[in-house]
Structure formats: structure tokens, C-alpha cells
């Protein structure tokens, strides 16, 4: 045991800031991280045992208990349920003879739940030992379990064929489909790799930033901060070293566009990061990829290696004296909050993914205390096209306040779920037409994932853009047959409860209170006052540190605002107060222990 830990630690030069990688390597090797390893890891890294434990226990793909030779993680996102997840889950439980959260008695198979894995266009989907199994049905589940019982390697458990494009390539070999439905200037694959970079090194860094500023592009992760300005701040900040981070931790349920870019256009993304490095004066880039996309690890590493061979990365890039830049990949280990830029940085430093207080902003003090730019995958890709065609060209797409295009991840009740690149300014109505969802069958659209808004048909003429419906790109469509409160609002609220880092009081507690209220209403114990209280309590979340906490009440707030009638239908009229207290349930344990049935 000690020898293998020492090998892994040597690989990372006993650097405690690489704790995530160290734990990931151990987990990959053994399927779990035995508690007995913790003191060894701690000692060799100069940390305390508790330091190691606090990182280890934060991420839900790390486990200190054996999780089986086959580790099945079934997605529990709302769209998974809409596409038949309950039947699939039951099939797994029946075929394996265990419940979720358990490992088979022979220790071979573990069955677990996980939050949205970025496959909303091909649900229900599961991850088994880093291999994605999309489009599951109970029949397919029985096939998989049969293969598992026959000890078949996961890589060979292919149903029919690999997905299209690079999914079928030697280094990926995945059953995932891209589902690219509409290509625009960013997704357009007809460009010459490296050309933008060549152009950039003939410009001064200031000129590059100026061009980006001219395009008016704003961050594509959702927050919408002007990219050129961010780069300028970082360029002007003082630090011995500067870093470029790419946020590929897309965890917002319903988002999967970065998966498609990482698969089909990884070179475009890397080129954008290298250009940012040049503009900002950074020497190192870190591509932070969510754990769920670990099936792309070998592929992405190979592409980095090829880029080094071509001198797109390394020393004196393309002969430009003094332009040194390299990129490493950092995988996460299951935490939505790490999509928040400062939590992402904390995680890359080997710590818990807790957002930092701001100021200072990452552009002043980011990774290892140095000036750091964090941009979304899509932002970096757009940058390359801006450099190739100019900021003015980019502005010809979109609206005045929202220039350019946006990649949308569209899923739910529509004929063609997938990735669509559209110019900003598209209305929700246009989008429904585009994806094959007939308007008279659509009850609601979730714009921007759970942290966005649930909007009703009267609002479908609203447009996507920073001036109206701002979004990171997740759109989920719900038909009239969906129970919005039970299926959607409750699911999203539980998601926020599971994914809160727990640092702020408000985000740790309020969503739990809201969830209890929703359940009270669903149990027919709700009264009118409950709705007003939910709105009132949700306001407290605005005092949370990060965007996750601040938006954790949005499913409740936007659904009450736009679909109050659905709640009204379920609450008791003529009753002002109901504690929602179930006496029978409260005394059940006591009654069982004493063997007496009380008369109440």
C-alpha cells in the first residue's frame, strides 16, 4: 500500500496543492480511498489528517468505502426522470438485488445516484467506471447487469456502436452522441487550427485585448462579465506568475454544450486559452474538467501532447521569443459549486470547493494567490473566431447589448434535443419552433437551468440576451403532462441542497426549509400562508456569498410567481394554519420500540 501511494505522490512531487489528482489516482486504482491511507498521504504532503479528510469528504465521487469493481452512477436530473429514469432505476435494483447507495454482498457492484452528468439530450444515462451509458431502458439495464455478472470489461459493454464524430475515435470510444443541431460561427469546424495564434503573435498583447474588447463578448458561463475587461485587469495586475483557467465544470443541470466542444473542437478551445495566455502574460493554463467527463481524459491529454509537438504549447511558442505557455488538465470529483470560479480555483489547489470572499477577485489574487483569468469553454472558443474575423465581424451577430452567438443545450419535451448555436436575441418561441416542440403542448420552459427561471407561455416572446433572459445556455422544456412542482421544483431544490458547499448559513439551511414546505404542500397540508413564507424566506438566500446560494431559491420563487395556480390547487382553502405535523409519524419509532399502539 505504502509503495503505491509513494509512487503516486512522487508523480505530483509531493505537492499538497495537487491533492485532488492524488486522490483521483488512488480512487482510479482501487475504486475507493481507504481511510487507512489518509495518515500516509497527510504525512508525505506535510498536511494534517483532517486536511486530507476535508477535501476527500467534500466531493461525492470520492469514497472511503469500497464501491465495487463496477461502480454505477445513475443520473437523477429532472430530464432523466422525464425520460424514464424510475423504471431504469428499478431495473438496476431488481437485477442487482441491492438499493441505491449499496454495494452487492460479494462487493462487486455498487449502485449510486448522481446529479446531472451532462447527458440531458440522451437520458436516462449512467456512468459506470468512467464509461457513459446513455439512453438506458430497463431492457438495456438487464443486458448491462448480465455483462457485469459475466465479468465483461466496461469498455466492451457496447450496445451497438459508438457515437458520431470524435466519440467513435480511437481515444474516446464512447456511446455518447453529440447531437449538434445548429452550427454557427463558433461551432463552425471550417477554420485552420493555429491560424489565430499565428496572427496573435504578430500583435501586441494590448492589441489582442483591444480586439476582444471591441467584440463586446461577455463571459459565456452565465455571469456575463466582459471578457476583454477581465483580461485587461489581469494583465495589469501584479504577480510573479499568471494563470489562465478554463472552466469546463459545466454542472448546471441541463447543460452539455461544453461536452460537445471538448469532444469535437478541443483544439479550438486550447487555442483560445493560449491566446488568453499571450494577452494576459500568463505562463500556465489549467483546463478544469468535471469528473463526469473523465471518459475524455486520454483524448484530451493526447491533444495537449500533439499541441506541444507542434509548439503551440511549450517554450517560445511558434518561435515567439519569451512566449512560454503550457496547459494541464485538472479533473474535479463531483461538486456543482466548483463551477463558481473561486471555488474552481480552490479545488484546483487541492482544497474543498468553497467559494472565496470577494474582493480580491481572481484577476488580482487567484490560483496560488496569483492573478488568474477564469473563462468558460465557449468564451475561449469564441475568442479564436474573433481574432480570425475581427471584433466588428463578431458584433454583426446578436443584439447591441449581447453580441455574438450562444450555444444552447436544449432538452426535455421536444423532438430534437441537442446543442444549437444561435445569435443572441432569439425568442423562446423561435427556439421552440427550432427544436420541434409545439407551443400548445408546452407548459413551461426552464431558462438557464435550476438557477435560472421557470417561465410560462405568456413570456415565450422574451428574448435570450443579457438584457432580458440571461443564460449559460441550459433550456429544459416541460409539456403539459408534467407535474411542475413535484417533478421539477422539488427535484431542483433537492439538487441545491445536495450541492451546497455548506459554508454560508443561508444556502445551507434555507433550501432545506423550502424543500420541507414543498413536501408539506404536496402532502396536502399546505395553506396560503406557506406560499408567502416561501417567497419571504427565499429572499434570505440573496445574502449568500456565491451565485449558487443566491439563486438556490429560484425554482421556488419563479414557479410561485409564474405558476401560482398550480400551488393554489393543492393548498387547503378555508384553513389559515396547518403545522404540517404528522403525529402518527412522530411517535412511530416510540410506538414500535414499546410495542404499543397509542390511541390518538
Amino acid at each position: 500500500m505504502k509503495a503505491s501511494i509513494e509512487n503516486i505522490l512522487r508523480k505530483y512531487q509531493h505537492d499538497s496543492t495537487r491533492l485532488m489528482d492524488i486522490l483521483l489516482d488512488i480512487q482510479d486504482e482501487l475504486g475507493y480511498i481507504p481511510e487507512a491511507y489518509v495518515p500516509h498521504i497527510a504525512e508525505l504532503l506535510g498536511l494534517s489528517d483532517a486536511d486530507v479528510e476535508q477535501t476527500l469528504s467534500f466531493y461525492h465521487f470520492f469514497s472511503t468505502r469500497p464501491t465495487g469493481k463496477y461502480r454505477i452512477y445513475l443520473n437523477n436530473s429532472v430530464v432523466a426522470y422525464m425520460m424514464g429514469r424510475s423504471e431504469v432505476a428499478a431495473a438496476f435494483e431488481e437485477a442487482l438485488g441491492i438499493k441505491f447507495g449499496q454495494v452487492t454482498p460479494d462487493g462487486r457492484v455498487g449502485l449510486f445516484e448522481t446529479s446531472c452528468i451532462g447527458m440531458n439530450d440522451q437520458e436516462p444515462a449512467a456512468i459506470i467506471n468512467n464509461v457513459i451509458f446513455p439512453c438506458l431502458t430497463p431492457f438495456r439495464v438487464r443486458e448491462i447487469v448480465r455483462d457485469i455478472k459475466e465479468n465483461k470489461p466496461v469498455e466492451e459493454m457496447i450496445n451497438y456502436q459508438y457515437g458520431e464524430g470524435q466519440n467513435a475515435s480511437e481515444m474516446v470510444r464512447s456511446m455518447v452522441s453529440n447531437n449538434i443541431r445548429k452550427v454557427g460561427p463558433v461551432l463552425d469546424p471550417h477554420y485552420k487550427v493555429g491560424e489565430a495564434l499565428k496572427k496573435v503573435i504578430s500583435m501586441s498583447p494590448e492589441e489582442v485585448i483591444e480586439e476582444i474588447k471591441k467584440s463586446n463578448i461577455r463571459g459565456r458561463g452565465g455571469a456575463g462579465f466582459p471578457t476583454g475587461l477581465k483580461w485587461e485587469f489581469c494583465r495589469k495586475a501584479h504577480g510573479e506568475k499568471k494563470y489562465i483557467f478554463c472552466n469546463a465544470d459545466e454542472g448546471e443541470p441541463g447543460t452539455f454544450k461544453d461536452r460537445v466542444i471538448l469532444t469535437e473542437l478541443p483544439r479550438l478551445l486550447l487555442e483560445g486559452m493560449i491566446i488568453a495566455g499571450y494577452a494576459v502574460g500568463a505562463t500556465e493554463g489549467i483546463l478544469y474538467v468535471r469528473y463526469e467527463y473523465r471518459y475524455l481524459k486520454k483524448y484530451l491529454e493526447e491533444i495537449l501532447e500533439n499541441a506541444r509537438k507542434k509548439n503551440y504549447l511549450g517554450k517560445s511558442i511558434l518561435g515567439k521569443e519569451g512566449f512560454d505557455f503550457d496547459i494541464r488538465i485538472q479533473f474535479g470529483a463531483g461538486a456543482y459549486v466548483c463551477g463558481e470560479e473561486s471555488a474552481l480555483i480552490e479545488s484546483a489547489e487541492g482544497k474543498r470547493g468553497e467559494p472565496r470572499d470577494r474582493p480580491p477577485f481572481p484577476v488580482e489574487k487567484g490560483y496560488l494567490g496569483m492573478p488568474t483569468v477564469v473563462n468558460n469553454v465557449e468564451t475561449f472558443c469564441s475568442v479564436v473566431k474573433i481574432i480570425l474575423n475581427g471584433g466588428e465581424w463578431y458584433k454583426s451577430f446578436g443584439t447591441e447589448q449581447s453580441t455574438g452567438t450562444k450555444l444552447l443545450s436544449i432538452s426535455g419535451d421536444c423532438r430534437y434535443p441537442g446543442v444549437y448555436e444561435v445569435a443572441w436575441g432569439f425568442s423562446v418561441n423561435d427556439i421552440l419552433d427550432m427544436v420541434g416542440a409545439s407551443k400548445n403542448q408546452v407548459q413551461a420552459v426552464q431558462v438557464g437551468g435550476p438557477s435560472g427561471s421557470l417561465i410560462e407561455p405568456d413570456e415565450f416572446n422574451r428574448i435570450l440576451g443579457y438584457e432580458d433572459l440571461s443564460t449559460g445556455g441550459s433550456l429544459i422544456i416541460f409539456g403539459h403532462h408534467r407535474d411542475l412542482i413535484r417533478e421539477v421544483v422539488l427535484n431542483f431544490t433537492n439538487f441545491f441542497i445536495d450541492e451546497s458547499c455548506g459554508s454560508c448559513s443561508t444556502c445551507r439551511i434555507v433550501p432545506v426549509l423550502l424543500r420541507n414546505k414543498i413536501e408539506k404542500i404536496l402532502n396536502a397540508r399546505g395553506v396560503e400562508k406557506d406560499l408567502d413564507e416561501m417567497l419571504e424566506w427565499a429572499k434570505l438566500l440573496k445574502a449568500s456569498r456565491c451565485g449558487l446560494g443566491q439563486t438556490a431559491g429560484n425554482p421556488v420563487v419563479t414557479s410561485i410567481k409564474n405558476f401560482r395556480h398550480l400551488y393554489e390547487r393543492m393548498i387547503q382553502k378555508n384553513k389559515e394554519y396547518d403545522a404540517g405535523f404528522d403525529l402518527q409519524a412522530a411517535i412511530r419509532d416510540g410506538a414500535e420500540a414499546t410495542g404499543r399502539i397509542p390511541i390518538v
Binding site: 476535508q54 458547499c501 448559513s505 445551507r508 445574502a543
Partner: protein, 233 residues
């Protein structure tokens, strides 16, 4: 000499050193901003959110926000006070706080804040979580029922090499404070008392000593929390 800047707290002009945290600047000007996770001399974390003010119209925690020239701060307003009261009530429903049997009663900052904000009963339903009382360490007892997850112990109690004795485990509603088992064996009596003192509530109690100050003579028995700042007679 650091630059002096002007900030306006509830309309009152205050002078303080540029870059100082708002909380400190306010206190130096006799203005009390309530806190729970803040501990003098320890890097702020902004986790309890009680010191939240409106800074230039945005909600910001005073303990983590450096002041800047011309900053306009809303602190003692109906809106902010109501929000603070609501946050304090959150702590009461999240844990199991039974003041009459708690040794920290009278020295407890959460209790003192509840009095300050005149809380009689929380507006939220109690969550009544099942929490552990951990007595496996030689020097201290951790009662998770009372813990408010302020991270003060994690940030303040360190060994000679700067390693923390305490840490967080898990996340979200399942988060809890742990004491490093091996380091706990090196923990001496002084360190245990220091940890007890750092804890704003009665979650960390040093073993083998209790009730040294009788009820009625404790810190907040005589004067409400914040009165040292506000200089109430």
C-alpha cells in the same frame, strides 16, 4: 502611513484607513455591526452572513469587505435588521439549542444575538436534526447540536507548524467540524481552553472543568452584545 478614507454608514461620515475591513472601520467609529463567525485577529470567512450590509446598494459581508473612498453603507436599517434577525433564527432551527442546559449560556454569542434582536421564537419550523456529541478526544468534547459552523476553530486553532487542529467534513447540510485525531493527542490543556474560548457557542467544551463563572456573572449577563462598541452606559 496608510491613507485615510471616508465612508458613510447610515448617513454618518466615518473616517478609517483605506483597505481596512468595513466591520473594523465601523467599530472604530462606534458603530456596531453584529457578527458570529468573525473572530478578532483571525482571517475572516464570511460564513454566518449576519454582518451583511448593503454596500453601494449590494449585499456584502462587512467582515470581508475592504472599505474604499466614498462607500455608502446601509447597516442599521429596518430591512437589514430584519434580515439579520431572520439569519439568527436560521441557526436556532438548524441545530438543537437548549440554552438552560448549556454551559455556555450567558457567554454564548448566538444567545446574546437572539436577545439583542428580541427573538422570542424562530419563524421557521425546527429541523430537529440528529446530531452527535463526540467525547472521544482526551481534552475536549464536541457537541454538534450546538455547532453553528462558523469555522472559527478551523481558522484559529493551529499548531506550531500552522496546521489546523479542526477541519470541516462533508458538505451542505451534512457538514460537520472534526478534530484531527492524531493532533488531538498532542493538544494540551491551554489549547483546549483556547478552542473553547474561540467557539462562539457551546459546541467545543474543554474537559475536566466546568461552570467556573456562575450564571449571572457571565459576559452577556450584564451587558448586551455590542454594547462595548456602542458604548452604552
Amino acid at each position: 502611513m496608510a491613507e485615510i478614507v471616508r465612508v458613510y454608514i447610515d448617513g454618518k461620515e466615518c473616517l478609517a484607513q483605506n483597505g481596512e475591513y468595513l466591520l473594523q472601520a465601523a467599530r472604530e467609529n462606534g458603530i456596531y455591526i453584529p457578527t458570529l463567525c468573525h473572530y478578532e485577529g483571525v482571517k475572516p470567512k464570511g460564513s454566518c452572513r449576519i454582518c451583511t450590509c448593503k454596500v453601494n446598494g449590494r449585499l456584502m459581508t462587512a467582515c470581508t469587505t475592504p472599505i474604499a473612498e466614498g462607500m455608502v453603507v446601509e447597516n442599521n436599517t429596518a430591512e437589514i435588521n430584519e434580515m439579520r434577525k431572520a439569519i439568527i433564527e436560521l441557526f436556532f432551527v438548524e441545530g438543537n439549542h437548549f440554552c438552560p442546559t448549556c454551559e455556555k449560556s450567558g457567554d454564548c454569542e448566538l444567545q446574546a444575538l437572539a436577545y439583542k434582536y428580541q427573538i422570542t421564537a424562530p419563524r421557521y419550523p425546527f429541523l430537529f436534526p440528529t446530531k452527535r456529541v463526540v467525547a472521544e478526544y482526551s481534552r475536549i468534547i464536541i457537541d454538534h447540536n450546538r455547532c453553528v459552523l462558523c469555522k472559527r476553530c478551523v481558522r484559529a486553532i493551529k499548531d506550531a507548524e500552522g496546521r489546523s487542529f479542526f477541519a470541516y467534513r462533508r458538505r451542505g447540510q451534512h457538514i460537520e467540524v472534526i478534530l484531527d485525531k492524531r493532533m488531538s493527542e498532542q493538544m494540551d490543556y491551554e489549547k483546549a481552553l483556547e478552542a473553547e474560548k474561540v467557539c462562539p457557542v457551546g459546541a467545543i467544551m474543554a474537559r475536566r472543568i466546568a461552570f467556573t463563572t456562575p450564571v449571572g456573572h457571565r459576559k452577556y449577563d450584564k451587558k448586551p452584545i455590542g454594547s462595548d462598541v456602542e458604548k452604552i452606559k
